[in-house]
């Protein structure tokens, strides 16, 4: 459905014949699957089961989004995976391990066709939930982390992989700090990695808690330092700006109740100064303008009367600049004047 260019000329006879052959082949394989499945339900047998699995394997490699096919694999795998876990009998555990590896391999093959296939990612999770222990337990999850790392190198924005990785991290017992370090690595690789910033926003509270109330201010300052580096390097990349907005809001809550709670207005002022500095060089950077507007409004809320009025006046003038710089979003900017 996505990403195919319109044909600039009609298909040739050869192309049409090739397509017809593909259609015929594929229809045959799918028909065979359905036939085998009907047979299996009517007369269960190990041989029919095996033949079905072989044909299903063919289908999902070509069309991994055919979700029912993955269900047939699960139906076959389930009784084997659920066979007395931890049973001493060597055959059972070996069989379980074999099935796990085979299903993981099939999912991996499906990714080659479509790395964003919901069915394939879920199949992987489903299999590991029931059989990770047979292939090393935590070690298996560490291998999954490596798989995720590889996929994110191919496409750092693959949200299926990021979401899957989030689950794997829990199973692997990775600490918030270790995971945090992973997002640092991704961000330093590429400041436009919105997915990494998103993930980091989820980890920040856990990291703050682990470092204790005394470490919150330092953490906030370090985070701000990082986003400054990002948006001074690439002021038009929005990822760091979105994270910055979150940080400024989160810092207020995080510092509240710590020994440094009174540092927040000072922190806000420093941010205002920093953005003004950037705008001095990049007058028309819309993200800087929007951010400054947001910060001035936040400051105005804590400021004394006349100072507050001045801040709001400056904020309003920013809106005029924004409408000039980014007329497409005029309606939104005008709403800021309400």
């Amino acid at each position: 459905m996505h990403g195919r260019k319109k044909l600039d000329k009609p298909r040739s006879e050869e192309e049409l014949a090739a397509i017809r052959a593909k259609v015929l082949n594929y229809s045959k394989v799918v028909a065979a699957t359905n036939q085998l499945r009907r047979e299996l339900l009517a007369h269960p047998s190990a041989q029919t089961q095996k033949t079905l699995l072989d044909v299903v394997d063919k289908v999902v490699r070509v069309n991994p989004d055919y979700y029912s096919m993955w269900n047939y694999r699960k139906e076959a795998a389930l009784p084997i995976l659920e066979a007395a876990e931890g049973q001493a009998k060597v055959g059972v555990q070996e069989r379980r391990a074999q099935v796990v590896e085979q299903e993981l391999a099939l999912a991996a093959a499906a990714f080659k066709r479509n790395p964003k296939c919901y069915s394939a990612w879920h199949h992987r999770r489903w299999v590991l939930e029931r059989g990770a222990d047979a292939i090393g337990g935590e070690a298996a999850y560490r291998r999954e982390l490596e798989l995720c790392r590889q996929f994110l190198l191919l496409d750092s924005r693959n949200f299926h992989c990021w979401a899957y990785r989030g689950w794997v991290v829990e199973q692997a017992g990775l600490s918030a700090e270790e995971d945090f370090a992973f997002t640092t690595e991704k961000i330093l690789e590429n400041f436009s990695n919105y997915s990494a910033f998103h993930y980091r926003s989820k980890l920040l509270p856990a990291v703050a808690e682990a470092r204790g109330a005394g470490g919150v201010l330092t953490l906030v300052e370090q985070e701000l330092e990082m986003v400054h580096q990002a948006f001074f390097t690439e002021p038009d990349d929005q990822s760091a700006w979105w994270y910055h907005r979150f940080l400024v809001g989160w810092a207020a809550e995080a510092l509240h109740g710590t020994e440094h709670h009174d540092k927040y207005p000072e922190l806000l002022q420093k941010e205002v100064d920093c953005i003004r500095e950037l705008l001095f060089v990049e007058e028309r950077c819309k993200w800087a303008l929007v951010t400054l507007h947001h910060l001035l409004c936040a400051l105005a809320r804590t400021a004394q009367d006349t100072e507050g009025v001045e801040l709001m006046a400056e904020a309003r003038s920013l809106v005029t600049t924004l409408v000039d710089v980014d007329p497409m979003h005029k309606s939104y900017y005008d709403s800021l004047l309400q």
């Binding site: 260019k5 319109k6 989004d65 949200f159 436009s192 709403s335």
Partner: protein
């Protein structure tokens, strides 16, 4: 502004519905139920009588029922395909469009949907347990269509609470707690919360900004920062903004121009972006986007093409008239005052 090629798109939809030998048709058998819904909606929004277009609709409704799995109570994407909540919603939507909703066994389908709810309020897609906020939307919309939403079969509050756990730092929503914001998921989450009457769980100003910030220089909308514009976001984003009372935050003329440039002027249909191959999915969402934008007039005041377009409901993604007829309710936020007030 390029013209809207309504009749050409109608021909395209009808052609696709009959072209059962193409490779694309074969490869999408598992989602045919949704494909039928997209096609019927494209026709319906262009003011067509869908039953008439489908030769009376009886054969089509029969096919929908052949995709029903009575043992579980859900519908599959195609005949012989396993039941799934995605295709259960699409099936109900198709039956509703054909005026045949009564053919669904409301009690059985309700039980099917209810059995998919997890203790934390989330919904699985099917018995195999995949969780995704798309399924929360499908569940609530399905029950609303069946009239069983408030009967106690599912815990609507818990469903809303789960969706709220999927809210992110940017005001957006992802497929599960911890997952990145994506415009498609935003639609399903905002839609689910609208049906649950729990829009207070949305940070509307922040999300509204994130959504309208998806508008690129081309006028088109992308689904996430740094991604390419795609016509389908014209629906996911515009409908979410409409629910949040902030439809005006999109530059409507620029978006309309983008959608119109995505039309295939030869074979008809709408593609994801200019120059790409058209498909039923993008055809529906392109038309729906143009209707929501008010570019295609639904008050009969339209242009020379003589087509009277139909309003589309942003929550249920069905013609507004049908939603009223079925008595489907939802919460929507009052439109935020327009810019004119600010200029004063």
């Amino acid at each position: 502004m390029p013209p809207f090629l309504g009749e050409l798109h109608r021909q395209y939809i009808l052609k696709v519905s009959k072209d059962k030998d193409s490779f694309e048709y074969l490869m999408t058998e598992h989602l045919r139920m949704s494909g039928v819904y997209w096609g019927l909606m494209g026709l319906a929004l262009m003011g067509r009588d869908v039953k008439e277009e489908m030769g009376g609709g009886g054969a089509l409704a029969d096919w929908v029922m052949r995709c029903y799995c009575p043992a579980e109570g859900g519908f599959g994407g195609g005949e012989g395909h396993d039941p799934h909540i995605l295709y259960t919603l699409s099936a109900l939507q198709v039956l509703a469009l054909l005026g045949e909703l009564r053919r669904a066994d409301a009690a059985a389908v309700t039980r099917y949907v209810a059995a998919l709810q997890r203790p934390d309020g989330a919904f699985a897609g099917d018995r195999w347990g995949e969780v995704d906020t798309r399924f929360s939307y499908c569940a609530l919309a399905s029950l609303a269509l069946l009239g069983t939403l408030r009967g106690g079969a599912v815990d609507v509050g818990a469903a809303a609470a789960f969706v709220a756990r999927c809210r992110n730092f940017d005001g957006g929503f992802g497929c599960a707690p911890g997952a990145e914001s994506h415009a498609g998921q935003v639609f399903t989450c905002v839609g689910a919360l609208a049906i649950a009457r729990a829009l207070h769980l949305v940070d509307a100003p922040l999300l509204g900004w994130w959504l309208c910030a998806r508008q690129c220089d081309s006028g088109g909308l992308n689904g996430r920062p740094e991604k390419q514009a795609d016509v389908c976001y014209s629906w996911w984003i515009l409908s979410a903004l409409a629910i949040l009372g902030r439809r005006a935050w999109i530059d409507g003329a620029a978006l309309a121009r983008f959608i119109l440039r995505c039309q295939d002027g030869d074979g008809g249909g709408v593609a994801e972006r200019p120059g790409n191959m058209a498909d039923i999915f993008h055809t529906f969402f392109g038309i729906a986007g143009l209707v929501l934008l008010g570019h295609l007039k639904t008050d009969g005041s339209g242009g020379a093409d003589g087509i009277v377009y139909c309003d589309v409901d942003p929550v249920y993604a069905l013609p507004s008239a049908l939603v009223r007829e079925l008595g489907l309710e939802s919460q929507v936020l009052e439109p935020v005052p327009a810019a004119a007030a600010a200029a004063a």
